[in-house]
């Protein structure tokens, strides 16, 4: 085999076995985002709490999971924990690893979103006798969420690609199934061209969704920017993408 066969690449793209891997990749991503957001919001709340023990625990969590490679986290959960008698199915291991890891990133995004809403907004809500719940639900959350969308989008884009690491612990997602096809047929470029196309499609679709979200929630964002510029300086949300 001394050349690249486009027809073979196309046939891999429509390979049913590979397509099922794509679905697993999507499933892992969605589950990790949902689980990561729930856990991440909890961690963000702890991190912002005035209790130093809770805040410290949340800080430690974030430091730990952002400071170690996802690959090691997955391998430890899959191969290391059984040594302590803790054993999960492969897919559970992948989900636990991805959620724990994603939560650390999302916690920081959620927190910086809330920190970027100026104190004056909360003070105005208090002065108007709004309840803590209404203040959160109608004043702080919508403003924080708008600020969270861009970093949230970036994080989900990274996560989509990071699910490929689950192949190492034998989860049959897109990457793993590409490997399997490749080892069967030895058409390396053709198989990976199909896989690459799928990743590009997934990230592009997500990009489009993210743009729609930004537009939808940013209705008055230009107007808002002007108002913010006119009022007291506001802490900028620190935007961070997965390294």
């Amino acid at each position: 085999m001394s050349h690249f066969s486009p027809t073979a690449a196309v046939s891999y793209f429509f390979n049913y076995f590979l397509m099922k891997g794509v679905l697993v990749t999507i499933g892992l991503t969605v589950a990790a985002v949902v689980g990561g957001l729930i856990l991440g919001m909890g961690i963000a709340l702890l991190r912002m709490s005035s209790n130093p023990v809770l805040a410290g625990a949340a800080r430690f969590y974030i430091w730990f999971f952002r400071g170690t490679p996802l690959l090691i986290q997955l391998v430890v959960i899959y191969s290391g924990l059984p040594q302590l008698g803790i054993k999960f199915s492969v897919i559970t291991c992948a989900l636990v690893g991805l959620i724990l890891n994603e939560a650390a990133y999302l916690a920081e995004i959620v927190r910086s979103g809330f920190m970027a809403v100026s104190a004056g907004q909360r003070e105005a809500a208090w002065a108007l006798s709004l309840s803590p719940w209404v203040t959160f639900r109608r004043v702080t959350l919508p403003q924080a969420f708008r600020l969270m969308i861009p970093p949230l989008g970036n994080s989900i884009n990274s996560l989509l690609k990071a699910t490929s690491l689950a192949s190492v612990i034998s989860v049959e997602e897109l990457m793993r199934r590409s490997d399997m096809l490749m080892q069967e047929h030895f058409q390396i470029l053709e198989v990976y061209a199909a896989a690459t196309a799928y990743y590009l499609i997934l990230t592009s679709v997500w990009d489009a969704v993210q743009r729609r979200l930004e537009k939808h929630f940013g209705r008055s964002s230009a107007a808002k920017a002007r108002q913010v510029a006119a009022s007291a300086p506001v802490a900028q949300a620190s935007v961070e993408a997965r390294a």
Partner: protein, 263 residues
């Protein structure tokens, strides 16, 4: 002093009604930020319907004073009564006081993601359980009063600073407060917009609203204030009618302050 010990002895949250209950009564109030004393033994009494202008150099504690009155800032020592309710850090008393007071901030603090109308209806609907239709009527009433009913559907960021501040006043009035607190309401405005906000405040004063205004607009103070409260380094240094204060400031600090802002 005897009034105060009586209130304490009875453990009452509502002070005994000896004469008419003042709108605000502060006794030996202290507020600390770490080692720094932002309010240093402040005594202040504001009668119902009275208009007070608070002035003084930057950092003298004017904002802290006014923010303690609706418990946006917690005082550390001393007593604060608002319409007879003691601000003693109990939730129900704080709520009662906040319902009686409206606040206008230097930086407006309108909710940028809501329209002008939504800014005005949110509190009446969620905190007072008003129906949407009622709340809208109420909001339009006060937006008309501050002369911007035509901007109701816009977002705050689409308005000029002066318009935003008038919306902020209308928003506060929608909760029908008995006391209005203003913290430098015109300091963030371009000069040509100061007047429209001051006019709105004057109108409010004419209607008998109890007002505490931190402002350096001495024309407004002369015209509207019943009393000027001058602060320096966390203390109320002088209190006098505007005429008296501007003509014969008693303290050296007030004299230099007046020289600086008038020139």
């Amino acid at each position: 002093m005897s009034e105060r010990s009586m209130a304490r002895a009875e453990g009452a949250t509502v002070q005994p009604q000896l004469r008419e209950v003042p709108a605000v009564r502060m006794e030996a109030v202290y507020k600390h930020y770490g080692d720094f004393t932002a309010l240093n033994e402040v005594d202040l009494k504001v009668a119902k319907g009275e208009k007070i202008v608070v002035c003084g150099p930057s950092g003298s504690g004017k904002s802290t004073l006014i923010r303690c009155i609706n418990h946006i800032e917690k005082h550390d020592e001393g007593l604060i009564y608002v319409n007879g309710v003691e601000l003693d850090h109990q939730r129900k008393n704080i709520d009662a006081v906040r319902r009686d007071t409206g606040m206008v901030f230097q930086s407006f603090n309108l909710f940028p993601h809501m329209t002008v109308l939504e800014n005005c209806t949110l509190a009446p609907m969620t905190a007072n359980g008003m129906s949407e239709a009622e709340a809208k009527d109420l909001a339009m009433h006060f937006l008309t009063k501050v002369r911007i009913p035509d901007q109701a559907a816009k977002f705050p960021g689409q308005l000029s600073g002066g318009q935003q501040q008038r919306v902020a006043i209308a928003r506060a009035l929608c909760m029908r407060p008995k006391i209005m607190l203003f913290d430098e309401p015109t300091s963030a405005l371009d000069p040509e917009m100061v007047k429209e906000v001051l006019e709105t405040m004057k109108k409010l004063a004419e209607e008998g609203m109890t007002m505490l205004c931190v402002t350096h607009e001495m024309g407004f103070a002369r015209e509207v204030a019943d009393r000027i409260v001058f602060m320096n380094e966390g203390k109320v240094v002088e209190q006098a009618a505007p005429e008296e204060f501007f003509k014969h400031p008693k303290s050296e600090r007030a004299r230099t302050f007046l020289d600086q802002i008038i020139h």
